[in-house]
């Protein structure tokens, strides 16, 4: 296929676009208005933008040809799987093209010795979990529905179980195969030379050109992701903490021990959402404010016992210092009390209280930042949420051995209530401004968050990103309005 691009910023007329795409993709391309309407928005408050069409890709050749056609036709292109990134990142450019990668959903290889899986974009968390289990391997899981994409989660550098010992998901990637914005196919990591996708080391790290770039540098068609040995024993314990500050302080301490697979805090509204109370009133002051959870795994009962003892000792010290906390409670007790809590016990799970409610809206401000400010950030954010009339749902966890922490504020809302959406947008900005002030940075940053981020950014770094994008994507085809150019 020849590539004769229109000048940047110019698009072919609709008839030409339809004809060219139909000629190449036949039934794989759709211009159905109802379908395009559905692709225009996601669950968040980010504005809807209607695409001109959708290509359902089934192969790498389909992706290559789509990218080349977009260059020829001057069409912005947005890759998509389930669009549940909660950052509005799969909302297409107005009048652009969506490439749906969900049909490319094969687990291509599992290497038990090097402990990685080579997957396509449509492979889901549940699918990979089931594929790894016979090999005695596991992967961490985000608090996302089981059908969401592993590849998208990794490229967006998300968080989940096992990000405490192994870092954010972007660090789990051993290499990718990607179609560059101009249509060339590249392979990164060890597999650029070796038949094995064992590591990103020791070549120049071009994999990072695709991590956190929000699809602006290429469409990734394969990804090698690390897995880890499945431990024989596993339990999740919850500690009810009367004050969020005490819970977060204990979370930081436990995160640094190197003993636990995951440690995190969820504030009290999570229980209301799981129990289908979508508009909870104020918290009973006698009620725990934060639920701290600790994942413990071991290969022997002695190891498990030692880790439990260490947890008890940390808890005892916190109590002696005045913290009001219950003793660790096995999640099985919560599940036995109410099956609604099963979703906290076995991931991946669909937190239906967040996704399936009458208003239909879900959004958050998620950030990574210095542990020194997690307590202040958590408290100030919860207060802001209450001031704007939203239940103060905070999620926090230490990452990569406690080197940094996540602070995330989650809101559910009524997408059809314009006043509430406006109130929410104001809250989101205030939350982010507060977090930026404390040195926290948004992950999966939507456009409005980038606006807040840019004025604070080092000019050299800002120019470097723009230069790399201009080099890789001279026609401005891929996700043109993400990040900045």
């Amino acid at each position: 296929m020849t590539t004769r691009s229109l000048p940047p910023g110019r698009r072919a007329d609709l008839a030409t676009v339809t004809a060219r795409l139909s000629a190449r993709f036949g039934e794989q391309v759709s211009f159905e208005p109802a379908l395009l309407e559905g692709l225009a928005a996601d669950v968040t408050e980010n504005p809807a933008r209607r695409p001109v069409g959708r290509v359902m890709a089934r192969s790498v050749d389909d992706v290559v040809d789509t990218v080349r056609l977009c260059n020829e036709l001057g069409l912005p292109l947005t890759p998509r799987v389930t669009a549940l990134n909660v950052g509005g990142l799969a909302i297409p450019a107005e009048g652009g093209l969506v490439i749906d990668l969900s049909s490319m959903n094969r687990v291509l290889q599992i290497d038990p010795a090097s402990m990685y899986a080579l997957i396509e974009p449509g492979v889901s968390w549940l699918q990979l979990k089931q594929a790894l289990a016979p090999h005695g391997l596991v992967i961490g899981f985000p608090l996302a529905p089981p059908e969401t994409s592993v590849l998208a989660g990794c490229l967006m550098d998300g968080l989940g179980t096992l990000t405490l010992p192994h870092g954010p998901m972007g660090e789990w990637i051993n290499g990718v195969e990607a179609v560059l914005p101009t249509g060339e196919l590249v392979r990164t990591g060890s597999a650029a030379v070796s038949p094995s996708w064992f590591s990103r080391s020791p070549l120049p790290d071009t994999t990072s050109l695709f991590v956190n770039w929000q699809g602006t540098t290429g469409v990734v068609t394969k990804l090698a992701v690390q897995a880890w040995p499945m431990r024989l024993l596993r339990e999740r314990r919850f500690i009810m903490c009367r004050r969020a500050e005490d819970g977060l302080a204990l979370m930081l301490a436990l995160g640094k021990t190197g003993l636990y697979d995951d440690v995190g805090g969820l504030s009290w509204p999570i229980s209301r959402y799981l129990l289908a109370i979508h508009r909870p009133g104020p918290r009973d002051p006698a009620e725990p404010e934060l639920y701290l959870y600790v994942d413990i795994t071991a290969d022997s009962s002695a190891e498990l016992s030692a880790k439990r003892t260490a947890l008890e000792e940390h808890l005892l010290r916190a109590r002696k210092a005045g913290a009001k906390m219950e003793r660790p409670l096995d999640v099985r007790a919560l599940v036995a009390m109410d099956p609604a809590f099963e979703k906290l016990a076995d991931l991946p799970a669909r937190l239906d209280g967040l996704l399936d409610h009458p208003g239909g809206g879900l959004t958050w401000v998620g950030s990574y930042g210095p542990p020194a400010h997690v307590i202040e950030g958590g408290r100030r954010g919860m207060e802001l949420m209450q001031r704007h009339g939203f239940p103060p749902l905070l999620v926090s966890r230490p990452m990569r051995g406690g080197h940094f922490t996540v602070v995330r504020f989650i809101e559910i809302f009524d997408r059809h209530d314009a006043a509430e959406v406006q109130r929410l947008a104001t809250l989101q900005r205030e939350l982010l401004q507060m977090l930026l002030e404390l040195g926290y940075l948004p992950y999966k940053a939507p456009g409005w968050a980038v606006e807040e981020l840019l004025p604070r950014m080092d000019p050299g770094s800002r120019a470097l990103v723009a230069r790399l994008r201009a080099t890789l994507d001279p026609n401005g085809i891929l996700q043109p309005d993400r990040w900045w150019r």
Partner: protein
Amino acid sequence: MLRQNRAAGIRYQGVSMLLHDPENANLLALLLARRLERALGPAGEPGVARFPEGELTIVAGEMVARLRLGARPHLVSGEAGAGAGTAGESPPGVPGDWRRARIEGPLDVLLGAVVGELPIGAVLSGELKVSGSMRLCWVALRLLRGTGPTR
């Protein structure tokens, strides 16, 4: 003001349950209401219809919830302002009053009872304090475990 609990399946053999003001109920009241709700469901406990009549106060940590059993419908309540201090003043377990009872203990012990044995040891050691009608206390502990009321 009582409001019909929104969840389905709370009526069984003509018996139903009301959760007072779900939006403002505390976690303990919500958990107890859901437990009762399930006991009243089709796969629940037939004996729920024969709960003894009485008022039960459960204090977990500093959270307080109240159950009025045997009423038509059963009532569950628990919201801000009903802290431990006030709980001691209103319906306490009064010796000899077979219509009132109170169970008090750490949340983890109460919830731990759900998956473990009936917490007789915790009662004997004083970790769980029970007072008032022992029959009502027994019903409550069995309700927590999902094994139904006394027959």
